[in-house]
Each structure stands twice: as structure tokens, then as C-alpha cells.
């Protein structure tokens, strides 16, 4: 199966929210009752029923102001912390398309992924006792179609295609607009990429992680303490058995030694 990348060109987003609606539509997600919060951003945050959200940021740069609309959804990490943290086999899986998908049938609602994710993406519903997030429309892309958000996007901000092709396209577009590709860290790759406009620093935008990586605590948990729990127990059990064979049970000695303690 081909690995895909979704490219989000922020120089082309007009904040129309067609992606947000298409996501709800395709994934059968109910609308949320919301109020005005002083921003066009609505709902205010991602949720169990909102997997894709256009965020609005007003950024003062010198004398000018940039108004940035950003399509925010799962970044589909190549090495996903959520999958690493997940205790239930099959609940969170990175597929060979590059999409990291959750399966509500296997989710046990432990919330470990919500803490592990470097982008704060998985959302928990206490009512359902499960998490939910963007699946990169795994059901569509394995059927040869594009994710719903990409299909709906009218400006060409969202594009989708095979990995190599999209990486080249991202580099070319970044050079064209003198922006940067984010995140473009050889040590932390994602199957979702942004073209950041020239004037904008990722750190200025809400709900971003300028330096995404697998959290060190999660690494230590899964790669160190997890195996060493078994190694420790096994080593000690081996040592105990050896002790029993070499030294034998710890008992008062028969005559050969003087009795201790008196």
C-alpha cells in the first residue's frame, strides 16, 4: 500500500471551513452547540465530535497584522506516541498508508494517548468512554479516494497524494513562497505537512508544537521500564533459584557450627 501525505498550504487557506463541515459529514459526527467566543473559531477546540477545526490567529508582526487560518487535525506521525502508549491492541494503529487510525471497538477509554500525543489531538468522551480523532479518512483513501476535507477544499490549500510526490511538492511550494515546511524534522516525520507562510513562525500559532517529538517520558516508560520489569523479575527469579541450589535454604545449622545468637 502506498504511503500518503496530506499537505496543508497555509498561504492558500481562506478559513471557509469546508473541510470542517466535510469531516463532520463524512464521519457522521454530530454538530456541537456553541456560542460566540470573540473569534471566528467555532467550536473553540477539537473534541470527540470535531476531528478537524479551522483555527484563527491574529498575529502582530511589526506594524502589520497577519490573520492566519489553520486546518488543525491529527498529524499522523510516522512514529506515533499515541500508538506507543495505547494498552489495547488494535485501538490505535498506524496503517501502511501512513494514516494513524483509532478503532472505537477496541478503545477502552484509558486516555493514555491524550497524554502521550505531542500535538494534543485525541479527544476523550466521558459519555462514550472512548477517544476519537482524525483517521485521515482511512476508509476513503484505501478506496482510492481523497480524505473528505481535501475533497471539499475549494482553494487548493489541502492536497493529498503519494508520499514522495507530496514531499517534492512541499519543498517546491515552500521555496516558491519563501516559507517553511512544518514539521520537517528528519527525526520526527509526520504524514501531514504544513507550508508555513514566510511571515509566520509556528510558535506564534495556537495549539502547535514547534518542536514535535516522541515525549521522553513515554520513551522511558515503554522502552526502558517496560522491558526491565520482566528482565528484573526474571533476573531475580534466576538468582533466587541459583541461591537455592548453591546455598540452600536458610536454616539453623546442625552441630558443625556453633549456634549463633546466644
Amino acid at each position: 500500500m502506498t504511503e500518503y501525505i496530506k499537505l496543508i498550504d497555509l498561504t492558500k487557506c481562506t478559513g471557509c471551513r469546508a473541510c470542517q463541515v466535510a469531516c463532520k459529514n463524512w464521519n457522521d459526527l454530530p454538530a456541537e452547540s456553541t456560542g460566540f467566543t470573540g473569534s471566528l473559531q467555532n467550536p473553540a477546540d477539537l473534541s470527540y465530535n470535531t476531528w478537524c477545526l479551522i483555527r484563527f490567529d491574529e498575529i502582530q508582526n511589526g506594524s502589520g497584522m497577519n490573520w492566519i487560518m489553520r486546518h488543525d487535525a491529527c498529524m499522523h506521525c510516522e512514529w506515533p506516541a499515541c500508538v506507543k502508549a495505547c494498552p489495547s491492541p488494535g485501538a490505535l494503529v498506524r496503517t501502511d498508508t501512513g494514516a494513524v487510525v483509532h478503532d472505537p471497538n477496541y478503545c477502552i477509554g484509558c486516555k493514555a494517548c491524550t497524554a502521550a500525543c505531542p500535538f494534543d489531538i485525541p479527544r476523550y468522551s466521558a459519555e462514550q468512554e472512548k477517544i476519537a480523532k482524525c483517521t485521515l479518512c482511512y476508509d476513503r483513501i484505501t478506496d482510492g479516494r481523497k480524505p473528505a476535507c481535501v475533497t471539499a477544499c475549494p482553494t487548493g490549500c489541502l492536497t493529498f497524494g503519494p508520499k514522495a510526490e507530496m514531499l517534492a511538492k512541499a519543498d517546491a511550494r515552500a521555496a516558491e513562497v519563501q516559507g517553511v515546511v512544518y514539521p520537517r524534522n528528519p527525526k520526527y516525520r509526520t504524514n501531514v505537512l504544513y507550508i508555513m507562510p514566510k511571515a509566520i513562525n509556528v510558535a506564534q500559532l495556537q495549539h502547535t508544537n514547534p518542536n514535535p517529538k516522541m515525549p521522553t517520558t513515554i520513551l522511558w516508560w515503554k522502552n526502558l521500564f517496560k522491558p526491565f520489569t520482566l528482565i528484573g523479575m526474571g533476573a531475580v527469579a534466576g538468582a533466587a533459584m541459583l541461591h537455592y541450589m548453591v546455598r540452600g535454604p536458610h536454616e539453623p545449622h546442625e552441630p558443625e557450627n556453633k549456634e549463633g545468637g546466644e
Binding site: Y124, W220, W221
Partner: protein, 214 residues
């Protein structure tokens, strides 16, 4: 239940034994379910217990029992497990477990190794309970704290699980006559002289009858 028995000494009270087994049982069940949650390849544990969702709640409830029995055990054994100068002498000779020791001080209720196990369970048990509470709702705390909770939970398990194997060995095969104390409370007089000489002498000095535990 603790009527006098010829040649036997009543070492642990019924209360101590109940608390011990509540602590041990909840700890072991939490370890079993926790391993089942941590190792995907051990999903036979979940299969036996009715699936991962059921196992999550079993893990949480055994953690609650563990927390309460840890409090009870700490109150009960705190005084017994304070280190005394003799413990250093014991430790220097590894309690006579690894080589012939000729200068072991007569033991109190617990030896330095047992005390160390108590403090390990106390310290790492508290870390387990506190981190477990955070893991119950990681969304309620800053994400950095939540991640530390997951890591410290696993680190504490590593320590306690290894200590547990030592405890299991020394409480059974390693020291014949020990495990019975945790079932019916009685040990032979020879056992007490060998392992708990000072404790036995002190008790007899006080004129305590063998029907009086600890």
C-alpha cells in the same frame, strides 16, 4: 484461634495476616492486569479476564484496594520497620544469606532486608497510587505531569515486582517455616530463636505469653 501450642510461638496477629494478604493480593492482581495492559503480546491475560476494557477496571479497583491496604500496612509495620544500628551489622554480612556469617546480631521482629522491602513497597507504592490517580484522569493535570505519572508508574512496578520475587523466594523456599506464619500465625520456637532472637527474648522478658501476637 491462637490457643497455646507446644513448641510454637504466635508471631503474627490475625489483623496483620489479613492486611498482608489484602496488600499482597491486590498488588499481585494489579501486577497481573497491569502486565496484561502493558504487553500487547500478553493478551491472553485479557482473554482470561474478559477483555481489555474489563481488565482496565479490574486494574483500577485492585489499585484502590492496594492503596487502602498500603495505608493499613504502613501504620501496622511502621514501628517494626524503623532501622536500628544492628541492621547495619546484618547488612554488612548480607544476613548470612550469601556466605557464612559468624557475627549476626540476634534479630528483631524483622531483619534489615525485610525492612528494606517494607520501605520499597511504602515509597514506590505511594508513587504507584499517586501516579495511578493521575492516570485515572490525565486530562485533569498538566500534560507534562501526566506523562511523568505514566513513566513513574512503570518505574515503580519494575522495582516492586523485582522485590516481590525476592520476597516470594525468601518467604517460602529460602526460609522454611516462614510462609506458615502468614497463614496461621505460628512459628516454631527454633525458627524464632534463629530468625527473631532479640524479639523473642524481649517478649519473654516482658512476660508476654505466646498467645500474644507481636
Amino acid at each position: 484461634m491462637s490457643a497455646k501450642k507446644e513448641g510454637m510461638v504466635y508471631v503474627t496477629s490475625l489483623q496483620e495476616r489479613i492486611v498482608h494478604w489484602l496488600l499482597a493480593g491486590s498488588c499481585l492482581f494489579a501486577l497481573l492486569t497491569g502486565l496484561g495492559l502493558m504487553f500487547h503480546s500478553w493478551d491472553f491475560i485479557a482473554a482470561l479476564l474478559g477483555g481489555h476494557y474489563a481488565m482496565k477496571w479490574m486494574h483500577i479497583f485492585s489499585g484502590v484496594v492496594f492503596a487502602f491496604s498500603l495505608v493499613a500496612a504502613s501504620i501496622m509495620w511502621w514501628e517494626h520497620c524503623k532501622f536500628v544500628p544492628d541492621d547495619l551489622k546484618w547488612a554488612q554480612q548480607a544476613g548470612g544469606y550469601l556466605w557464612e556469617a559468624h557475627d549476626l546480631p540476634p534479630g528483631g521482629m524483622y531483619n534489615a532486608g525485610q525492612k528494606l522491602f517494607f520501605w520499597a513497597v511504602f515509597v514506590f507504592g505511594i508513587i504507584l497510587v499517586v501516579s495511578g490517580l493521575i492516570m485515572f484522569n490525565p486530562l485533569a493535570v498538566p500534560v507534562v505531569l501526566a506523562r511523568w505519572a505514566y513513566m513513574l508508574h512503570a518505574a515503580s512496578v519494575m522495582v516492586i515486582a523485582s522485590f516481590f520475587i525476592v520476597h516470594l523466594y525468601l518467604g517460602t523456599f529460602g526460609n522454611p517455616g516462614t510462609v506458615q506464619i502468614m497463614f496461621h500465625g505460628w512459628a516454631t520456637r527454633d525458627y524464632c530463636e534463629f530468625h527473631k532472637g532479640k524479639w523473642l527474648a524481649d517478649r519473654e522478658k516482658k512476660g508476654g505469653e505466646e498467645s500474644q501476637a507481636s
